[in-house]
């Protein structure tokens, strides 16, 4: 009886130790599911670690939640894709610096038979208008993410109020939204990275790409030392600087899926 108790105690202590053991040199990075799902971090983080010895722990959430994490002081650094929101974040004093890091682009995906015939559209606005005209099923993230916000801007450009039976707001991440679109043969707007890495395409195919309004800019933010003095600002600055350095930019350019480059470095 006593022996068992001792054993259990020893086990609990060991587990407690194992769970609390953590490297000191790490930062927590709040970023978006689209970057995480593409596999970009698996490719560039080891290079950053090699250069600086710093671990980056990625918490991948929607852009809205990523901002919220940073606002509450739960993340050391922020890498998101909502330029307008990022600028507001700096204006409100939560971040001290914002830098362009890279861009990828959005693509419009849909069933191979393309009932709204957007293949031949001249612009994104035309493609979106055609989908609304045909009332072809369209699945939207509906989660206030960067992608979702970009999509809503595109409907506005096309002069369409997206509502009705054909427009489905899912409240899901990019991957689950693609899964749903595949299941119901719907149109969907996705970032290219998630689409290229996506494994459950079924009948879906890439139908429209290349319009400049579809470019998706990523920015890195340095968070305010005043608001959250406890954060690892030194390490976060190293990460921020590395991302926009020559090495970091090269690492981003080197990341390819099936021989296709997904992110295009554009730090100034």
């Amino acid at each position: 009886m006593k022996k068992t108790l001792n054993l259990i105690l020893a086990g609990v202590t060991a587990m407690g130790l194992a769970l609390s053991a953590q490297a000191e040199d790490y930062i927590t990075l709040a970023s978006t599911t689209s970057t995480e799902n593409s596999g970009l971090f698996d490719s560039i983080l080891p290079k950053f670690k090699e250069a600086t010895g710093i671990d980056v722990r990625v918490v991948a959430v929607g852009t809205g939640q990523a901002f919220e994490l940073a606002r509450r002081g739960d993340a050391d650094s922020l890498l998101v894709h909502d330029t307008a929101g990022e600028q507001r974040f700096v204006e409100n004093g939560y971040a001290t610096e914002r830098a362009d890091v890279m861009y990828n682009d959005f693509v419009v995906i849909g069933p191979a038979n393309d009932p709204a015939n957007i293949r031949d559209a001249k612009s994104a606005a035309e493609a979106f208008a055609a989908i609304a005209e045909a009332e072809a099923p369209f699945t939207s993230r509906g989660d206030d993410s960067g992608t979702n916000r970009a999509e809503l801007r595109l409907w506005e450009n096309a002069g369409v109020e997206p509502e009705g039976e054909w427009y489905r707001e899912l409240g899901s991440g990019m991957g689950p939204t693609l899964n749903t679109a595949a299941a119901m043969d719907a149109y969907v707007m996705s970032d290219r990275a998630t689409w290229v890495a996506f494994g459950n395409r079924q009948n879906l195919t890439l139908l429209f790409e290349g319009d400049e309004v579809l470019f998706n800019q990523y920015g890195s933010l340095l968070l305010s030392e005043q608001k959250h003095p406890h954060l690892k600002h030194d390490l976060a600055r190293q990460w921020h600087n590395w991302l926009i350095s020559e090495d970091g930019q090269q690492a981003i350019a080197d990341f390819k899926v099936d021989g296709q480059q997904l992110f295009f470095p554009n730090a100034k």
């Binding site: 609990v12 953590q22 918490v59 509450r72 890495a197």
Partner: protein
């Protein structure tokens, strides 16, 4: 695709790679530790509610029973707000660590262990009460006796708690962050792979999780049966 998933699950198990091993080990550590802590708190709590009559007792029982159905994501949100830097326990720096996941799962499992052990202990108390009073036992003294004598029933309760802990995803996702190599567990890995559209891999991981849970249940069942046969 199902065939595919079973194939993936099998090769995952056979080629036991380091990443999978780490995920499985962390899942077990977090859930087992959470269930253990919840048991240390929940069993005496359940027994106390069974033993003592106090004003509001009915309300406590209703609340415990209702909390058994607490959505994991709500538990996660509560623990997140507690551990967030802006929250009351933010100073601890517990957020996005396995420790935070343990806390969230304790919140989920504790009501199950307390509510079910209350029921089991009360049943047993009905059988033992006269003998206990005859022996001159106080209520406080009855508690350890009842908990020990209900050990087989409580083992099943413990398994129910473990099932809940190891199956939930909402709470650990929110307070753990699904950080690769740090807080990624089986369920959050499954969500991630589903998001990537890697359905066979996701299902394969699910099969691995199911296999693990079944093994643990089978082990507990065997231990229970063997000791039951020995001690009647």
């Amino acid at each position: 695709m199902e065939n595919n998933a079973f194939y993936v699950a099998l090769s995952l198990l056979l080629n036991f790679d380091a990443a999978l091993y780490q995920i499985v080990a962390l899942s077990l550590q977090v859930s087992l530790l959470a269930v253990l802590i919840a048991a240390v708190l929940g069993f005496p709590l359940g027994a106390a509610v069974a033993l003592w009559r106090f004003p509001g007792r009915g309300g406590v029982i209703v609340v415990l029973n209702a909390l058994m159905g607490l959505p994991p994501v709500v538990a996660g949100l509560m623990v997140y707000l507690l551990l967030s830097r802006a929250g009351p326990l933010g100073e601890l720096g517990f957020l996005f660590t396995p420790g935070a996941m343990v806390i969230a799962q304790v919140v989920l499992v504790l009501p199950i262990l307390a509510a079910l052990s209350r029921q089991k202990v009360e049943e047993m108390l009905g059988e033992y009460r006269e003998q206990f009073v005859s022996l001159g036992m106080s209520r406080a003294r009855m508690m350890p006796t009842l908990l020990w004598d209900a050990r087989f029933a409580l083992l099943t309760v413990l398994l129910a708690g473990f099932g809940r802990a190891s199956a939930e995803v909402g709470a650990v996702m929110m307070v753990g962050g699904n950080i690769d190599g740090v807080t990624r567990v089986m369920t959050t890995a499954i969500v991630l792979e589903t998001g990537k559209g890697n359905l066979p891999l996701a299902l394969g991981l699910g099969i691995v999780l199911l296999t693990l849970v079944m093994l643990i249940n089978a082990g507990a069942y065997l231990v229970g049966e063997l000791t039951r046969r020995r001690t009647g």
